[in-house]
Symmetry: C2
Subunit: 438 residues, 2 copies
Amino acid sequence: MTEIMQPRILTGFMELLPEDQILFNRMLDTIRKVYEQFGFLPLDTPTIELSEVLLAKAGGETEKQIYRFNKGDHDLSLRFDLTVPLARYTAQHESELVFPFKRYQMSKVFRGERPQKGRFREFYQCDIDIIGLDELSLFYDAEMPAVIYRVFKELDFGPFTIRLNNRKILNGFFRSIGLEDKITEVLRTIDKLDKIGEENVRKELAELGVDEEKTERILSLIHLDGTADEILSALDGFGIEDETFEAGVAEMKEVVKNMRLLGMPDEAFKLDLTIARGLDYYTGTVYETTLNDYPKLGSICSGGRYDNLTGYYTKQRMPGIGISIGLTRLFSQLKEEGLIKPERRTLVEALVVPLGKDQMEAALKTAAALRAADIKTDVFYQEKGMKQKMKYASRLGIPYVVLIGEEEANNGTVSVKNMDEGQQVTVPLNEAIEMIAK
Amino acid sequence: MTEIMQPRILTGFMELLPEDQILFNRMLDTIRKVYEQFGFLPLDTPTIELSEVLLAKAGGETEKQIYRFNKGDHDLSLRFDLTVPLARYTAQHESELVFPFKRYQMSKVFRGERPQKGRFREFYQCDIDIIGLDELSLFYDAEMPAVIYRVFKELDFGPFTIRLNNRKILNGFFRSIGLEDKITEVLRTIDKLDKIGEENVRKELAELGVDEEKTERILSLIHLDGTADEILSALDGFGIEDETFEAGVAEMKEVVKNMRLLGMPDEAFKLDLTIARGLDYYTGTVYETTLNDYPKLGSICSGGRYDNLTGYYTKQRMPGIGISIGLTRLFSQLKEEGLIKPERRTLVEALVVPLGKDQMEAALKTAAALRAADIKTDVFYQEKGMKQKMKYASRLGIPYVVLIGEEEANNGTVSVKNMDEGQQVTVPLNEAIEMIAK
């Protein structure tokens, strides 16, 4: 006798029951549909990369989280995001690609973090990026939020806000008040405003050696509030004379104008000068997205523009812009908030149920006809009582049961039971197909 | 200056250009559609499993190929197929699942093999399985080939044959001629008939200690040829008195009958007594599928029935039946044979091209309208000459270019150029949308 091994998986991995998997896949399908609608092309890079190549840039925290191992003579790693593989891919295939290169990838990435609530070690990222050669039009900075808008409109989780900022505004501002050399630390502190509150931000800024006057100036900038137009005109009157700052404001104006032309309503976006995005490589427009009724979920779709994606792999400069949805985390959060509920446990539209053995022949033919009409069809083959047959249908949430008894088999009819409403009609097969297809 | 790392991936990994990725994804979509049509539900198990759980059964060659590594306190492995994770999942979630449990999974699996032509270290498997509690109706043995039939009909790679056998026929036969204790070795030899030829099979059988009379008997069995009905009646007259043999023949008759009832034409399947399938766990019907015009591709979809999927994880017996398509290998083979050719390099249906800067506003509005009508739309934002704009469209194979010049912008019209046929018409935007949507 074989010994029994307790079946289990490691914590920090999401594994769903079919009814939830159906909903998860529907989200993946919706996102993919919108990405394709905006002209992005699919990519599917390997899960396993050569460590030396994948980690050319990485360091610190990231490197510690990598699943890295040797196999044969090779030092290998699982990808920890989709951006580094994109950089590697674009540099590797530069001569074969058409630029600007618009790609989407929706794949799992891997991070060996300590497990904690809401953190996953294996999770889906749904990314789009546009990569240019040497240059990339500013219009793409408006296309990104237009994609985000459409995605979350179609996913239909309630009202959301796309928050925009421009790193040039922040960089120029800090330079103009003489904090150029502390930009990274100051931005990192500002980024925590929502989490730790203003008092603690003041404290941390003081610790960084920022004097009170400058701190006031910083806070008055990042507290600018109002409509997009109000903030833009406040920035014009903010009295900063710095080229980078002015370029950032001009870009932001252009982006706002183009978002409107792309059909985005004003309530869908907000200029938010507190957004810095942790990553060092953002250089222009940056994005975060929040669900209005669930601010505690944090940003559910983030990204921005970067000056050069591929510096580690080629001398050709490739500026880009991209956004990412961490779908595994989002799904798990939405489920916890009760925003995702399985309507049906199944995709199956019809269950064919022969009443007895003698109707099996008619049942098989009926199933073939339903499937030929593109109706997702299952057949109950087991010889069980009627109660168990109906229980199978209702546990799986199948909307139509197609019953075949002696009379039906003889007459070429079927009895269709609508499982939601309870009523049952006996009709010719072709009528049943029409009824269910609707 | 950063040092340049040569961008590359490990051999044995398939990475496609977008135009091929589009075709690959289309195959995945088709397979998924058919799997869902037959009532299979989606599953997505983790890529990384606990080694102790995943490898409860494995040994020998399989174990050597595993990507296995430690992270923190955990001994982890990448899945090497989708069957073991299914067994683990089904045992783990037994109380939450509805049986018979019909699931599909289309995911990457990982095998650290020595790279050789046509072998991949990371590849997609597209699997369906049906798992029962204690028992599983024989009707599913006919449903499997019905799914295979529909899949390859829709994939449209030309004529194909689904080859069926039943392990009970082989097992019973070998028992009846007193070779019960050598079944595995003899079957392994027979399995190589196509590869090594009859002479070598005879030699290997002799080495196994099978005498000439028995060898003749074996060869006359596996050389049985003809229509399904001819082979079935030849088996009846083969003079074997063995319960298992007779049960196998009876099952095969039933499966043939039911395949026909499910709408499969006789030319789509063939009884083939040489098929044993290497894996030890098949116990009833087994399948292989070959493309008639490309026999050298070998079996492109295989599977069968097994008595107990989950023996290592639960005492509950769970018989099952399943098939698997190794899509990465199939795609690469079909491409090599010239059976897959990108018709278009893109999914994009329309490219909006403003003639100058002043038409950018109209271009953005036009793009928004096209996308709202579900037309996959890209915009050419770069300020380049007309030649370069059209080159982008033609290199990507975009079928319609929507040109907007001064006149069009003023009149609310667009000029639609059909890139395949060359002609160009100027029409109101809504007419253009209708034209492209068709």
